[in-house]
């Protein structure tokens, strides 16, 4: 199904659509505006549903400085007491105008800014940026670089998924489980450090290449560490599914139906938990991915299960790719010639599709438009919170795995 991911004005109105594994930029003139057009247009200010007024209804303003919301953002929750009647999420406090800053920059400076969009999706952002530039410059990559990038992307997925599951456990007051998950989260960050030299995989992607290769000891170390994490998590995950207290909090919380998810433009694990099979990695020949987890319920539990199962799949992918790059010992220089042109490219980040449209003119970036999964994730949070009570807030918000830095750019 065709989903609108972005709308912008560059030499006329243009739309970015995703249909399964294809991302396409088309002229907006010939299209009837899809239902999520307004959401995309207002994505830098307020994301949510309508403002509610009425007897006893007030705005419970949660953020930007509070213990509950770690980032600088505001949840405007319209309520008359316990029940949530409407939600408007203000992302403008986190706005850093990165797309504007990219204009007039060289492609190398642009890469630094792409890394700074969202710290925990830094690898996905820099990869999407590099892929777009490589398409414009028509750079062909050696197989081994593609494998390194797949490993990086999957490492990012693993630590983000560990984080989301730890936060859900924390919300449900499962203290022991939370501590275990936080241990796995920290250990996965240390694996990232061995792999890329950065705990958050920052600066690993370069245009036409990567910044660090691995020696054999490092590869063995990463494989051993991941096997240990996999074993621990398998035990913990099975154990957590026996805990009625925990499951009760997630089950039937923050439900998003398939129709609603597609109407919003949701991508990633949240969409797959709403019974719709779509994953950009499935259409990537380098991946060879067939067993994508899909759940029917569309609630917080389904989203958690999809993420948990993806962790095992990601670890297997990493092990497979690391075996392939084991004997490689070569550092090719990334030489390229700058060209003008415009292109679009996307990657499957831990929370959904990240997509970059870039136009290069006279050797410098002339225009950039970034599609982030958090924009659609926040809309899904706002819509699924309506009709729920305050105690469901944390599970709904955390299960989508979105953040303000990613949405506000």
């Amino acid at each position: 199904m065709k989903k609108l991911l972005g709308a912008f004005n560059y030499n006329g109105e243009k739309f970015i659509f995703q249909e399964n594994g294809t991302i396409a930029v088309v002229s907006g003139e010939n299209y009837v505006k899809p239902k999520n057009y307004d959401l995309i247009n207002n994505r830098n200010t307020i994301i949510g549903n309508q403002k509610i007024t009425g007897e006893g209804v007030f705005n419970f303003r949660y953020g930007p400085v509070t213990g509950g919301v770690a980032e600088a953002g505001i949840y405007n929750i319209f309520t008359n007491g316990e029940k949530i009647l409407g939600v408007q999420i203000d992302v403008s406090y986190k706005r850093r105008y990165i797309e504007d800053k990219l204009k007039g920059k060289s492609i190398e400076d642009g890469l630094k800014l792409a890394n700074a969009v969202c710290g925990n999706f830094a690898f996905s952002h820099s990869l999407a940026y590099c892929k777009t530039i490589e398409k414009i410059l028509q750079i062909k990559l050696p197989e081994v670089i593609k494998y390194f990038r797949i490993v990086g992307l999957e490492l990012e997925r693993i630590y983000n998924h560990f984080y989301v599951i730890a936060e859900l456990a924390k919300g449900a007051a499962q203290k022991v489980y939370t501590s275990h998950m936080q241990y796995l989260f920290e250990e996965s960050l240390r694996v990232n450090k061995i792999f890329s030299g950065s705990r958050h995989l920052i600066g690993f992607n370069k245009i036409g290449g990567i910044s660090k290769y691995l020696n054999k000891e490092e590869i063995v170390k990463i494989i051993d560490k991941l096997s240990e994490l996999e074993e621990r998590f398998k035990y913990l995950y099975e154990k957590s599914l026996e805990s009625g207290n925990y499951l009760d909090r997630l089950h039937n919380t923050g439900i998003i139906t398939t129709e609603k998810a597609l109407e919003i433009g949701l991508t990633g694990p949240s969409l797959r938990a709403s019974n719709f099979r779509e994953d950009l990695r499935e259409f990537d020949n380098d991946y060879n991915l067939t067993n994508i987890p899909v759940k029917e319920e569309g609630d917080a539990l389904a989203r958690m299960e999809v993420r948990a199962e993806e962790i095992f799949i990601s670890i297997n992918i990493i092990k497979e790719k690391l075996q392939k790059i084991k004997d490689f010992n070569d550092s090719e220089k990334n030489e390229y010639k700058i060209k003008d042109g415009e292109e679009v490219a996307a990657v499957e980040s831990p929370s959904g599709t990240i997509c970059y449209f870039i136009a290069i003119k006279n050797g410098l970036i002339d225009y950039c438009y970034i599609v982030t999964p958090s924009t659609f994730g926040f809309k899904a949070i706002a819509d699924s919170l309506v009709g729920q009570i305050f105690t469901d807030f944390v599970f709904t918000v955390e299960s989508f795995g979105v953040n303000f830095a990613d949405a506000a750019r």
Binding site: V65, Y93, K94, R96, K112, C118, E186, S243, A405, D406
Partner: protein
């Protein structure tokens, strides 16, 4: 089926290591009043979420900050130390100053500016009692070492 807490007791994750801070400490809290415990409030004023994740990692059992008497609070009114995660956005300047205004008595501020190419570093705002100001992506053990220095345990 094992009872959950038993699963926890079996594994002891805390690391035994020294945390030394090698940077410059600009201001020290008087008389080491926080020798036994330290309460921290964290405010994000526009970092890319990377430092937020570092703070989350600091709460993991490997560091076990509670053994030193370090706790995170939900409000600046209960905090001894404010950690500011920058660079700062225009819209967050006022909430930041108001948060500092709400800090009680003898307090300290640690400013961490993320190392990236966005310019808005926290320089032009006048912030009192700055203990340390760092313009790099600190790791959790570096943050912990700054806190321990304040507690005279570094």
């Amino acid at each position: 089926m094992k009872w959950w807490p038993l699963v926890g007791i079996k594994n002891y994750f805390t690391e035994k290591k020294d945390y030394d801070f090698k940077g410059e400490i600009k201001y020290s809290l008087k008389d080491k009043v926080f020798k036994k415990s330290l309460h921290i409030f964290v405010i994000d004023v526009g970092n890319s979420n990377l430092l937020n994740f570092t703070i989350k990692a600091l709460k993991s059992p490997q560091y076990n900050i509670h053994r030193f008497g370090i706790f995170f609070t939900e409000t600046p009114r209960h905090a001894d130390i404010l950690i500011v995660l920058g660079p700062v956005n225009e819209k967050m300047k006022q909430p930041l100053l108001e948060t500092i205004n709400q800090m009680p008595g003898d307090f300290g501020v640690i400013i961490i500016n993320e190392e990236n190419s966005i310019d808005n570093k926290i320089n032009e705002i006048e912030i009192p009692n700055v203990i340390a100001k760092v313009d790099k992506n600190l790791s959790p053990d570096e943050i912990l070492s700054i806190l321990l220095t304040q507690m005279n345990r570094g």
